[in-house]
């Protein structure tokens, strides 16, 4: 727990450092920033835009916005939520408006976690990746933020532009849906 907290803090320090150097006009820092963030942003955008070419076009657009807006980032410590907010807005603009919160599909609802054991399979990257592809994009984007950057509830609510309470309940629902998806797949394999 402490390790993960330290890791997160260190990651924030690094992001802040990169952002400050970019704001001072350090070209090497800009290259480092792109190198550090192009893959997570692409992964995030792909959950909203499954088409590879669309996702690549969105990614380029996102970076152009980052370049234009980086100088005005007031709190470089919150670089990650800022980047994801830009990415999310761009991806949804390309895809069309985000749908109103959809209830998870009936099939997934029918498989509540019987054991109550929290996420033992959620350390299995392939299983998580597989399940993300089967979730509604609104839940998938939330869980990607959770898995990739372990964003806090306040940060999640900032990125998704919803109140913290809503972010909390959506995260809970998304985790439950994902668990159900994993269980249903597991059951299918067993039978």
């Amino acid at each position: 727990m402490n390790d993960s907290h330290n890791q997160r803090e260190r990651e924030r320090d690094r992001n802040e450092w990169l952002c400050l150097r970019c704001q001072r006009g350090d070209r090497a820092a800009w290259n480092e920033l792109v190198e550090a963030w192009d893959r997570p942003l692409y992964y995030f955008v792909r959950r909203i835009l499954p088409d590879e070419q669309e996702a690549l076009a969105a990614l380029q657009d996102i970076w152009l916005q980052v370049f234009g807006g980086l100088a005005s980032v007031q709190d470089p410590r919150r670089l990650a939520p800022w980047l994801y907010t830009l990415a999310r807005r761009t991806a949804w603009r390309q895809r069309g408006r985000p749908p109103a919160a959809e209830p998870p599909s009936a099939e997934l609802h029918d498989h509540e976690d019987p054991s109550g054991s929290p996420f033992e399979r959620l350390d299995d990257a392939e299983a998580v990746h597989w399940a993300l592809a089967r979730l509604p994009p609104q839940q998938a984007e939330l869980l990607v933020l959770y898995f990739l950057d372990d964003l806090s509830l306040a940060e999640l609510s900032q990125v998704l532009e919803i109140p913290i309470g809503t972010a909390k309940s959506r995260l809970h629902a998304a985790r439950r849906t994902m668990r159900a998806a994993l269980h249903s797949e597991h059951d299918r394999h067993d039978s």
């Binding site: 260190r10 320090d13 690094r14 992964y43 690549l56 380029q60 350390d123 998580v128 990746h129």
Partner: protein
């Protein structure tokens, strides 16, 4: 480190990777954003103020020096100030030509410094005129207003740069112990 020991984040990213070629292409496009290479047309466009600046500076200095002794000192000073402005354009544009690219942040710093320098010189000129002819006072006031605006922009820029540098140093120190 076995694959399982790697953070989940990295393992997830590996499952939907950005192609190496696409990644290289994207990074190269983005690297150019920060520092834009000058096109041949832009180079030509910069060559003109560089040459004009140098020639102007030489001619005006020569004129200021070779004026007859009866020439008022204010005229001589004005010629020297104009020569200085020519020299600035020569140095600024020559530097860009030599570098071959526009650096958005650093060149913005140069611009605010130049704005402050020019408006200060302008105010000094108007000050000298107003000292002899009080009707020129309005010109001096307008010039001082521009100087003030340029000084605010300059100080803001410098203050921001110092703040960023300080925060950057603190972070560098914090990041160092863990490597």
């Amino acid at each position: 480190m076995t694959p399982k020991d790697r953070p989940l984040r990295d393992r997830l990213l590996d499952l939907d990777p950005l192609g190496a070629e696409q990644r290289r292409e994207l990074q190269s496009t983005l690297a150019e954003l920060f520092e834009r290479r000058l096109s041949p047309r832009q180079r030509l466009g910069l060559l003109l103020p560089t040459a004009a600046g140098l020639l102007g500076a030489i001619a005006l200095t020569a004129l200021a020096v070779s004026e007859p002794p009866t020439t008022p000192w204010t005229t001589r000073l004005t010629l020297l100030v104009l020569a200085l402005i020519g020299l600035f354009w020569f140095l600024a544009c020559g530097r860009l030509l030599r570098r071959g690219s526009l650096h958005l942040v650093r060149d913005r710093n140069l611009l605010t410094s130049a704005a402050l320098g020019f408006t200060t010189l302008q105010s000094l000129g108007f000050g000298a005129l107003a000292a002899r002819d009080p009707e020129r006072l309005a010109g001096l006031l307008v010039s001082l207003l521009f100087s003030l605006l340029a000084a605010v922009a300059f100080l803001h820029q410098r203050g921001r740069a110092s703040e960023l540098r300080l925060r950057e140093e603190l972070l560098r120190a914090r990041l160092r112990p863990a490597g």
